[in-house]
């Protein structure tokens, strides 16, 4: 069989991905109620973190910490929480597909297995992120009051958010593919979520980390996914866009190459028993 030209192949995958997005977006409507009910704990988190930072600013008698005022700090945590709480556990789904053999079936679909998974992931993540950020914004307004967001900084932050979603998909796909070799990958995913929360700057901006830890956090892929978009959204302009995207691209290159190799090796281990 003659391989398709590469650009044509990419365009084909793009059309398939769009079709997956369309179908999955309609599916998400059925689960909006569940997503909404899950928002309660977000409000609790933001309330507590708002109180913690309010007490911290008061104790320090400081106007700004790490370059952020108290309302900005509350909104920073709102953005980072929206990034973290909108996560979709793709690793578990890939793990299930590997164990049940559904992966072998999905490989035959147009666009391949990962395109289908990416389509489902992106739609679910977008719906969750939109809802979490909206609810978080309402809560943050109630806790610390509204803040001004520069339009260009806000738009730049959304671009970085999109890149962060893709980077996380690649990382979590790598974890899910571990099912080819391991008994259980859920624990690895759990550890990943916790380590990324800490070193990604979920609760404390990286500017407030001790220098030695901050320098490590800046080279890991977690900060570009969590701290990066939140910090950019609160900036006065979009000048942070290029460094933030460069950071994402660098992380994506390293992680993406590793996961691509893992995926190819994993496919050689696919075995189909009966039908």
């Amino acid at each position: 069989m003659t391989p398709r030209p590469r650009l044509g192949n990419l365009a084909h995958r793009g059309r398939v991905l769009f079709a997956h997005l369309h179908v999955n977006l309609r599916d998400q409507g059925a689960y909006l109620g569940e997503v909404a009910l899950g928002g309660g704990i977000l409000v609790v988190f933001l309330f507590i973190l708002g109180k913690l930072w309010e007490a911290t600013y008061r104790a320090q008698a400081a106007e700004t910490l790490g370059g952020l005022t108290w309302p900005q700090m509350t909104w920073y945590v709102t953005f980072t929480e929206a990034m973290v709480m909108s996560r979709v556990n793709v690793a578990r789904r890939i793990d299930e597909d590997v164990r049940t053999g559904d992966l072998a079936y999905a490989l035959l679909r147009p666009g391949g297995y990962l395109t289908a998974r990416l389509g489902a992931y992106l739609t679910e993540r977008l719906v969750r992120f939109g809802f979490t950020l909206t609810l978080g914004a309402i809560a943050a307004t109630g806790i610390a009051g509204p803040i001004a967001i520069h339009p260009s900084a806000g738009a730049a932050a959304l671009l970085v958010v999109a890149g962060a979603f893709l980077l996380e998909f690649v990382i979590v796909t790598g974890i899910g593919l571990g099912a080819f070799w391991m008994e259980d990958t859920s624990s690895i995913y759990f550890v990943y979520t916790r380590v990324s929360m800490l070193l990604g700057g979920l609760l404390i901006p990286i500017e407030l980390f001790p220098d030695s830890i901050a320098s490590v956090a800046r080279v890991l892929p977690f900060a570009p996914m969590i701290h990066g978009p939140a910090r950019l959204a609160l900036a006065d302009d979009a000048s942070g866009l290029l460094p933030a995207m460069a950071s994402l691209v660098a992380s994506m290159s390293v992680v993406g190459a590793s996961v691509a190799v893992t995926y190819r090796v994993a496919l050689t281990r696919v075995t189909v028993h009966g039908g």
Partner: protein, 295 residues
């Protein structure tokens, strides 16, 4: 199930009458003997659950490890915080370690022994309580100990190690810690049973019950003095973080017999309260007549 009795004379009418107390009423056995029997029952179930969990040793070890890492990350967050700021509302790093050690150990023991409590809502919704209602042991206790969360061992392990290594307690503090962890575990279990039992009235209560548990953990693991006014009232009533964490932490640092007595009374009252809610709910229970294999 309570309103569905079998035909007279078949024995089912007796078997399906709910007897939800932690211990069956009307027993002629002495109280100490009943307590010993209950303890042996719980120990047997914990052993059996552990055997099941250990059938997948690698998965068990990975889950325990992941919970230890998760707790460690939260304490690391506080370490980062206190590296930058010396204290918050009178709490320093040691106080926060005690908060986390106490909560992790109590929630860990709850998970290792009583994780079945977190399944009440889903089992009520699916009408799956029949199995527990027809057996001689008290249904509520049986239901509560029927499941184990292996992650609980990770939480408990972390809590004990963190308390010993980071809080460096005196002998008196260590003894207080053990007693207070037991009381906190009792209150957590009672709270979860009560919230999960809402399913008897609402039909589905899994999401609200999950959120109640998450809310309790979240509030319990932050310094008490962050909260005041009506929120503090809520934290000593509807979401008992005050009795799970704040009061025990005060007692570990400075023992007060009167306060300890209050905590003991709250633990006993919450246990009876949870049982009363479950019992009241059970009267509304309807079987799903589901046939299922239990391995």
């Amino acid at each position: 199930m309570a309103r569905r009795t079998g035909p007279p004379g078949t024995g089912l009418e007796r078997a399906t009458t709910p007897k939800p107390r932690l211990a069956r009423r009307g027993s002629r056995e002495p109280l100490a003997s009943q307590a010993w029997s209950l303890l042996r029952f719980v120990a047997y179930y914990v052993g059996a659950n552990l055997d099941v969990a250990l059938a997948y040793r690698a998965a068990f070890a990975a889950k325990v490890f992941s919970f230890v890492v998760s707790d460690a990350m939260w304490v690391a967050f506080w370490w980062l915080y206190f590296e930058r700021f010396p204290s918050v509302e009178g709490y320093g790093f040691r106080q926060v370690v005690i908060v986390w050690a106490l909560c992790a150990t109590a929630f860990g023991i709850f998970g290792a022994i009583a994780a079945g409590a977190t399944t009440i809502a889903s089992r009520v919704a699916r009408g799956e309580l029949d199995f527990y209602l027809v057996l001689p042991k008290a249904p509520l206790l049986h239901l509560v100990v029927s499941r184990m969360d292996p992650g609980g061992f990770g939480d408990a392990l972390f809590g004990i190690v963190a308390f010993a290594a980071l809080a460096r307690p005196s002998f008196e503090e260590a003894v207080a810690f053990v007693v207070l962890v037991v009381l906190a575990t009792v209150i957590i279990t009672a709270y979860i049973v009560a919230v999960q039992s809402l399913a008897f009235w609402t039909g589905r209560a899994e999401t609200i019950a999950d959120q109640a548990l998450s809310g309790l953990i979240t509030f319990a693991t932050y310094p008490e003095r962050l909260f005041g006014g009506p929120v503090k009232v809520v934290l000593f009533t509807l979401v008992p973080a005050g009795f799970v964490s704040y009061v025990p932490v005060r007692l570990v640092q400075e023992w007060d017999w009167a306060l300890a007595g209050v905590l003991l009374a709250v633990a006993v009252a919450s246990l009876y309260g949870a049982e009363a809610v479950f019992t009241a709910g059970l009267r509304r229970y309807q079987s799903g007549s589901a046939l299922a294999m239990r391995g």
